[in-house]
Symmetry: C2
Amino acid sequence: MEEAKQVRDLKPLFHPKSIAIIGASERGFYPTKVLQNLLRYKYGGKIFPINPYFKNVIGLKCYPRVLDVPVDIDLGVVAVPARIVPSIVEESGKKGLKALILISSGFREIGLEGAKLERQIIETCKKYNVRLLGPNCLGVVDTHSPLNASFAPSTPVKGNIAFVSQSGALGTAMLDWTLDQRIGLSKFISLGNKADLDETDVIQALADDANSKVILLYIEGVTRGDKFVDAALKVTKKKPVIAIKSGITSAGSRAVSSHTGSMAGSDLAFNLAFNKAGIIRVNTAEELFDIAKSFSTQPVPKGPNVAIITNAGGPGVLATDACEKFGLKLAPMSVKTVKRLRQNLPPSSGFFNPIDIIGDADANRYKFAIENVLESEDVQNALIILTPQAVTEVEATAKILIHLKAKFPDKPLVASFMGGNTVSEGIKMLEAANIPNYKFPERAIQSLALLTTYAIHQNTNPSGDMQVFKVDRETVKSLFEKVRKQKRLVLSAFEANEIANAYGIAAPSIKLATTADQAVAIAESVGYPVVMKVESPNILHKTDIGGVKLNLNSPSDVKSSFYEIIGRAHTFYPNTSILGVNVQRMVPSGREVIIGMTRDITFGPLLMFGLGGIYVNFLKDVSFRLAELTNSDAMNMIKETKAYTLLRGIRGEPSSDINSVLDTLLRVSQLVTDFSEINEMDINPLMVYEKGCMAIDVKITIKP
Amino acid sequence: MEEAKQVRDLKPLFHPKSIAIIGASERGFYPTKVLQNLLRYKYGGKIFPINPYFKNVIGLKCYPRVLDVPVDIDLGVVAVPARIVPSIVEESGKKGLKALILISSGFREIGLEGAKLERQIIETCKKYNVRLLGPNCLGVVDTHSPLNASFAPSTPVKGNIAFVSQSGALGTAMLDWTLDQRIGLSKFISLGNKADLDETDVIQALADDANSKVILLYIEGVTRGDKFVDAALKVTKKKPVIAIKSGITSAGSRAVSSHTGSMAGSDLAFNLAFNKAGIIRVNTAEELFDIAKSFSTQPVPKGPNVAIITNAGGPGVLATDACEKFGLKLAPMSVKTVKRLRQNLPPSSGFFNPIDIIGDADANRYKFAIENVLESEDVQNALIILTPQAVTEVEATAKILIHLKAKFPDKPLVASFMGGNTVSEGIKMLEAANIPNYKFPERAIQSLALLTTYAIHQNTNPSGDMQVFKVDRETVKSLFEKVRKQKRLVLSAFEANEIANAYGIAAPSIKLATTADQAVAIAESVGYPVVMKVESPNILHKTDIGGVKLNLNSPSDVKSSFYEIIGRAHTFYPNTSILGVNVQRMVPSGREVIIGMTRDITFGPLLMFGLGGIYVNFLKDVSFRLAELTNSDAMNMIKETKAYTLLRGIRGEPSSDINSVLDTLLRVSQLVTDFSEINEMDINPLMVYEKGCMAIDVKITIKP
């Protein structure tokens, strides 16, 4: 409760009644720039320069310390050398400041010493309940307050796009660029080191900000993975979040001893997290704002059908190709619409989508075509392409679009007036009337497609079908305790099967033989044929060393296999403890799938499903989701793979029990969520039959 | 010889000594605009307006017909109604004009009637040896001649990029855009309907044009597929060709009864053709010119290593991600380089690639870093990123780059000065000095990556290892004649195997049984176990209907299988002729791969290799190339698939005879090149053993 309140209340950061500029001077670059920005940008509250060496700064009375200011202060902007920061934060806390923007650098980013200083500051902030942005950040701009508490050289124009950037320099460049592109912002927030306030806090605050219609994020990492996903899911139900996450090539920090671990790329977890949270991920800084242009001005579409109206065939084809690429549908033209279009368009026009009103189209022809097409219920989005040809009326056509946009406010309408000078005046008119223009039709289609993606996200309830199974947690708990006591990280085959059974996952019973005679005795008791596998905590891929023998039918086979397995294990792992050989009844063969989990350092359990067996790494037919899985998550995971086609039965083969696979996947999800000590888990293969399935080989490792 | 000469000699089109404007008037839009463009653009030759209704047009003496002009004319620009065009072309031929630009529309693009007119014109052109551009085109601009024989509203500035566009409207828009972006062109050529001159002719001419350093193509289709690939391969050895091909979603026009046909997407042939020809394919109109900016100004790099020098971490990370995405390598920094950098850069700089010279970098620091990095032999390309921060010296840094570019002329150097107004002056300076600037670092990296791709293409000799096998063409030829006489399109299993054998591809001997007793007799003679398959020209996927029986070991098995197969075939194909049941000795199982061919309507035989067997459509692990294959083509095809991993033997399995697969692939390539009547061909499976391979099931269909 306390935390929830604290998280959301970022008002002192964006709408402070008074601000202290700590370190203010007329010489230091950063504090001077912040002061100038505050004044120029017409901040309406009180400003108190703080600096023991000055009486006045830029005509304002200067106080030695915040504690000397006779009235309350909401926000402090701190730009002093790192070593003085701890005392400044302490004084700010004492004075009752509610928020601090820490511009100073020299903290975590410079190494261990700085990190220590940063931790010290955060503890002081917590003690006094002060929220802190930074350190090592550019500050904050709120174009509606108005407030420019940053040292950014360019100040954005007013708009409804909130831009949050972890990188200050990228932020600066993008602010400058938004001016050039006439893109308006509601807020700009530079996150810096995220010592206290991070992306999760900020997007939660922005969700409630009436001035922000879209949230843009540039991040290099996420501080609190699980909190972020949960929070973002709530935010994206209210308004779109578009993000660029850089650093996709950085090596992951997950364990990779399992199949699942080795197949989950380092960037995968971010994709899964963004998908789960409904965040739209783009790949370049350019796309971030380009897409935002549509999200900040257009309504959420009712469906994926787009009409393309163009005065040139070529760009129409490019737009059509883009529809295929980005998953938009060309709206079908009804007989009625085509009939009406034929009445007034030249006979050589294209009457089906894309509607080509040909090169000599004037503004009136655009009006006629667009109006008739938008009236159709089959059309839910529109892209208007204009190339500057002989009789093209650029500005008059822009006016038509503006008029029709007002007539059809519920249908996203974007333009692609192509060219340079000839079309620039028309583009300005469009943009002033909230019709985004794209110089090239492909990006326009991409924007519409992402609007549709967002519409689908807003209308689905992802947590609707979460299932909780009745399981035996105690058995698993005590088993892990035993393993930890023995200082092991890898569970034995029995232990892994026992855990599977405790969570309702069928696994064959396994017995350990330490002598050849014992192996024969077990085989005689469970019945032939049997499978034998080496048991050792350090040998994970047993097949590779010849440590697995299948389909053994006689005591002599079992005996010789025992010696061979032990011999091979000692040859390949001469200094490893070999516990013996597991003997189990051989189960009938079925479709082999894999279910696995690896734990991501940021986002937690990452579940995998796919084609199993010994070729799993070779075929790489797998799908992933973050835990916890809902029924539909799990079903979608299965359906994404080719294994699904196989399970349904191809070319006349009988179908396998897909529901039992679904059930197993959900139970694994519950297991790895319940026990955060599980580091990695593979069931490979899970043998699937016409009825039921069986976990043949279960591997579990736990965290140190 | 005659054709070759004709193809290349496009001088009258770009450098005519005299031009007739046929249809010239002061009222008609198109001819007036062409005349105006010719005059304004200071065309140096003689201009003759032609129109029987005028004595003078814009102050120039006007002649009734070209035949009335007293001197020779090189080029005619025709803008008269379509129905008059044939007589104009006839007269132009008689007069001895060498080339015509046919601006008029109303030909193939409006339907059958127009197509007829177009054919008529082309015949006349051939009769008189006149080359024709269009119809339905915008015309031609040559900025070096200078010549603007087009009705384009904007005239490009002089440069070294040749731009060829099939779409006139897209051409217009892009010309306007190049002005806005200060991109210079050497030539602009609007292809229109390509009745005579097509992309193949034009790129051949441009290859020899000293004023054009790069060729850009916007095409919606290719007229003569095989000629285009051969010609483009020669052109791209001289200079880069960058192309955008739209219409990727249009349905293909290939047969799809084979596995190969069904797996080759409609856009695949263009990708293969462009790859084979060394053409760089981009996906959007924006990319076309963005990439061209680097190709037109930068040298061909010596290798893929790039150094990124930046004053901000974030964009450096974005650029690094882009390197991974586009296949460029971050240049390793030698101990020597790092040591030198440390001497003068602030301690918190990034000394390894990307080189982060941090936010307070002035121009001198850029100079120091870039100079030291470019001196390293490990660095073959450089990207300089600048974000406008507090002390950033934009123009001074631009000057540094210009200076260093001159010092290291052999290393591609591109910039990403990010932002708007703050950096625009610096960007202008860079561009004037032939250093391309990209607003976002990703595109800069993509450009460098494509330069590297081009460098590799220039240095490889693709036709170096073409192999020709000694084969029995006569057998194949007479077999096809027989099949054609019988008006069949599908070859029987014997026929297909006979063809395979004639080309040195091992296939088992097959005998047809028309009674159960005959089947037993064949089985007894070839030896058990045997395989039996239904034989019918209309049943292509025999397994699906239960028309294949494997591993039959006794006369009674053979007998009952015969009845079952015939019964099933009649049930599933009640009205189809069933010729009987094939009997062959069962061959041992091995690795199953597929080799196939489908014929593309534009580019001819399209070869496929991949994982075979009954799951071929399910796993879709296949690679493609256009015929004819060189040894290295074929080897690369094999290596691109997962089947290759399998053939090499994974997890301790023995390796299969990859050379025998290569041999088979090359022989199939030769077969389908030798016989253009083969429409589709599948060998599935080709069974591969530790030594040798065997074509188990060969399917061949021929063209109607």
